[in-house]
Symmetry: C2
Subunit: 294 residues, 2 copies
């Protein structure tokens, strides 16, 4: 058996299309243009690439996009003052402070300053708490993308056994909550877990989010399982180049899994699309409109 490939590029494009349609509807029916403000501090090249990509996709979805660039040596108080200004700006429905912040800035204090209703990265403790309590919440984008990819294979996850490997605040922990919301049975494993191979072999759904290249081997995968690989690891490739690999040994897993996300071209494609989803949802919630159909 060879697994079917879950094509993040196509699924993300479809999702962006649905977002754009809903944005158009919300604009015409309610006169609301969802707006996303992205704050970039300093000039980290990777962060600049991400911010440009977010800017472009936000505009393509018909939303307003606001970019704020601050120097790396900005005072903490000035950064927080900007966040507070965006909190009260009625044209802004989503606020994203690009992480990591330069040294000397207190990330927690900055994230905590964001109005939870506009926290489209889902990092504010209030959103984490609402998510952990099964209440409506803005969820971090990557785990949201994992759920959408899984549901491209399985319409319902109810009663399925899922394993989440990795317990980060950005991916593993919120992913557990989203899977519980889908009525899956969830096991959360991590660096201290024993006999991961055996735990993994019982799962219908495998989420690898540990940041260790090809750690999950093909013979860990239950035949027919769906495998979502969140890892993006850079390894030395041919001719002095680098190559990207996930946390799953892809070629091995292909032989056992029922469906699998490639790296690149899988989860990574979904993150910005889910940021658009969150911004649209935040705009609708702030304006007390029905939740959008995305």
């Amino acid at each position: 058996m060879t697994a079917s490939i879950i094509d993040g590029k196509i699924i993300a494009a479809e999702l962006r299309g649905r977002v754009a349609a809903e944005v158009a509807r919300v604009k015409s029916e309610h006169g609301v243009t969802p707006g996303l403000a992205v704050v970039l501090v300093g000039s980290d090249p990777a962060s600049e690439v991400y911010v440009r990509s977010k800017h472009k996709q936000t505009q393509e979805a018909g939303m307003a996009s606001f970019e704020h660039k601050l120097p790396a040596d900005v005072a903490q108080a000035d950064l927080i003052a900007l966040v507070q200004k965006l909190n009260t700006d009625p044209t802004v429905h989503g606020i994203l402070v690009q992480l990591p912040l330069p040294k000397g800035l207190d990330t927690d204090a900055v994230v905590n300053a964001i109005d939870p209703a506009k926290d489209v990265d889902g990092l504010h403790p209030t959103n984490a708490g609402r998510l952990a309590s099964g209440m409506p919440a803005l969820s971090p984008c990557t785990p949201l993308g994992c759920i959408i990819l899984t549901k491209s294979v399985h319409k319902s996850l109810e009663g399925m056994n899922a394993i989440v490997i990795g317990r980060s605040n950005l991916v593993g922990r919120p992913l557990v909550q989203l899977l519980l919301n889908e009525n899956a049975t969830v096991t959360i494993a991590h660096s201290k877990s024993r006999d991961l191979a055996k735990l993994c072999a019982q799962a219908d759904l495998v989420y690898a989010a540990v940041g260790r290249p090809e750690m999950v081997r093909g013979d860990w995968i239950k035949p027919g399982a769906t495998v979502i690989d969140v890892g993006i690891n850079r390894l030395p490739g041919a001719e002095g180049k680098t190559r990207l690999v996930g946390d799953v040994a892809y070629q091995e897993a292909l032989k056992t899994a029922g469906a699998i996300t490639p790296v690149p071209g899988g989860v990574g494609q979904m993150t910005v699309a889910c940021l658009l989803v969150n911004t649209l949802r935040a705009a609708c919630a702030i304006h007390k409109l029905a939740a959008p159909a995305v």
Copy 2:
């Protein structure tokens, strides 16, 4: 093999003793007397019993105990005004609003009005979020009691396989977070889970918190596993009386488990003791003292 009994009564008494010793130390070294305010609305007999028990145990631990009784028809605004007054009262370090509230009062709004630093019931979304993010937090008392009971058997839970059956905000969900903090591998199962018996049979630690009498059968338990029964169910007994049973079929499980909590006399004993722990912890945190040794 017959399981050893985890005696909640003895363990709770020991815990109260440690709390009392730390309260005495904090008083003499820092001049701080931890204080717990309990708010009771209406006159539900069961709630009155709980509140009296909390009052007595708080005083016995050397803490200040404040009782506030409001009529069942109190206005929402007046109840919230009382909570806000307690938030700013420097002699109060813990605030507990006895639940359930009478009809017509908005529980979420009341809980959300409590200063998270004084939220000794651990119900405020900020505490749920901090707990879900692996940050220091005030955790709900019953799951805290479950961890203490487990650690009376196992010094370290690292790498053990735990199953939590039930996903309530009061018990199951926060218990998962506390188990993760202990580096256990955690499976969370619930009413939609398939083949619970098999899931359960793989666990070194079983937590039953579903509220269904004797649902977990003896042959679900891995030989030697530790079983913590959170359920308290009232069944008809002999001579028209009622009897209390847990979520685990105790007599069956006794034969397989390595250690087990009885019902009554297990988890139920721990809840108020853990409330004292939380109040002491809150007092130390508010006064910026080192965390107490409890």
